[in-house]
């Protein structure tokens, strides 16, 4: 009786052991590798999704100022393009557009860097206009901040010649004075002074200086109450440089 029971236990044990071994084999050679591969695919997906989110955020943060101007005076055949990186990211300009013609470039700009691109021979004719834009590697297209260049019988013209003042200092109401250099004295321009209010963290005012004979020096004074908080002398280089100047206070 005792012997019979032993044989039966042995028979059951053998089948169970084989069954268990096969189960473990399937688990380790099929199920677990499948799970690991799927997990790896999920990891790749999450990683790429994260990278793409960062790319989109960086793209939306990109900001550059673009200025186009003639290379050597009002009757020059050449256009130069100045770009300034206004954001906290490094970016790469990959194309300059002049009207419908793309020109490949490769200019990397670190935060707040400036670079001059060109010259481009456009062989200007009276009555023609030149719309200049810059494309970045992240797919943004930035238009010329001073508008479209045009060429007339008297030479190059630009849509606007501006002094832009952006105030981020503490305070709410500011008064901005802009002077032009008249011989040895500083005379206030007709649209000065201007009072501005800070809305959404900064105050902005643009002064049109198109009527002045350029190039010209200007002095910008920002007042908070009776106290000057910023004073800066700027040089409007047009037609040998950008026709828009930014003053930050």
């Amino acid at each position: 009786m005792h012997i019979t029971l032993t044989i039966r236990r042995g028979r059951k044990g053998t089948a169970s052991i084989f069954g268990t071994l096969i189960f473990i084999g399937i688990l380790f050679t099929a199920v677990i590798p499948m799970y690991l591969v799927m997990n790896q695919a999920d990891t790749i997906f999450e990683q790429r999704k994260h990278e793409t989110t960062i790319l989109d955020e960086d793209r939306s943060r990109e900001n550059i100022l673009v200025y186009a101007y003639p290379r050597d005076g009002l009757t020059s055949d050449y256009i130069s393009v100045k770009v300034k990186n206004e954001c906290g990211l490094s970016l790469k300009a990959i194309r300059v557009w002049i009207n419908d013609a793309p020109e490949p470039v490769s200019v990397t700009l670190n935060p707040l860097d400036e670079a001059e691109i060109g010259d481009y021979d456009v062989n200007p004719q009276a009555g023609e206009t030149y719309d200049v834009r810059i494309t970045t590697e992240r797919g943004n297209v930035f238009e010329c901040s001073s508008g479209i260049l045009s060429y007339s019988d008297t030479g190059w013209e630009v849509e606007s010649q501006l002094i832009n003042v952006l105030i981020s200092s503490s305070g709410v109401v500011f008064k901005i004075h802009v002077y032009w250099e008249n011989g040895e004295s500083w005379d206030e321009i007709p649209t000065s002074p201007a009072q501005v209010w800070k809305i959404g963290g900064s105050a902005f005012k643009s002064f049109d200086v198109t009527d002045f004979e350029l190039p010209e020096y200007f002095k910008v004074v920002v007042m908070k109450g009776s106290n000057p908080i910023h004073e800066e002398i700027v040089f409007m280089e047009w037609p040998n440089g950008p026709s828009v100047i930014w003053v930050y206070a």
Binding site: F18, I26, A30, M34, A41, W97
Partner: protein, 143 residues
């Protein structure tokens, strides 16, 4: 006693053989099935990765001097090659299409879209670019 022992051994061998045969078949099937499942899952996930990392934009639009063609420049700034279809619609009902233009990563492609009729002054032209993966980009252009 001896006969019974032999029978027990044989039955144990038969049972073990059966377990091994069924187990082996199950193992083989499991390997194949899990491989297929894993491959399908990985391919689906990688396809989804391509879909979410695909990026392109309409960089510039212009038109021909005879007003019969619209020129579209599309830039692929994403991480995968794209194949796009371009639809141009004008507020006057005029339209044009261009299909299956492949754009490699980092490239800009220029496409000429022939219009059904000539554009006129002050037309509002809408350019829609769709990729095979379902992403899109838009641009509005005024003649």
């Amino acid at each position: 006693m001896r006969r019974r022992a032999l029978s027990e051994v044989v039955s144990a061998l038969i049972l073990s053989g059966a377990v091994l045969a069924v187990g082996g078949a199950l193992w083989s099937y499991s390997l194949g099935a899990t491989t297929v499942i894993a491959n399908n899952y990985v391919n689906g996930t990688l396809s989804l990765v391509d879909e979410i990392t695909e990026r392109f934009s309409v960089e510039h639009v212009s038109h021909s001097s005879d007003n019969l063609k619209v020129y579209v420049w599309v830039y692929n700034y994403g991480d995968v090659d794209v194949i796009v279809d371009i639809y141009v619609d004008v507020n006057t009902g005029n339209d044009g299409q261009y299909f299956d233009r492949e754009i490699a990563v980092g490239d800009m492609e220029y496409v000429e879209v022939s219009m059904n009729s000539a554009l006129s002054v002050d037309n509002e032209v809408t350019v829609q670019v769709y990729s095979g993966r379902g992403n899109s980009a838009y641009y509005t252009y005024y003649t």
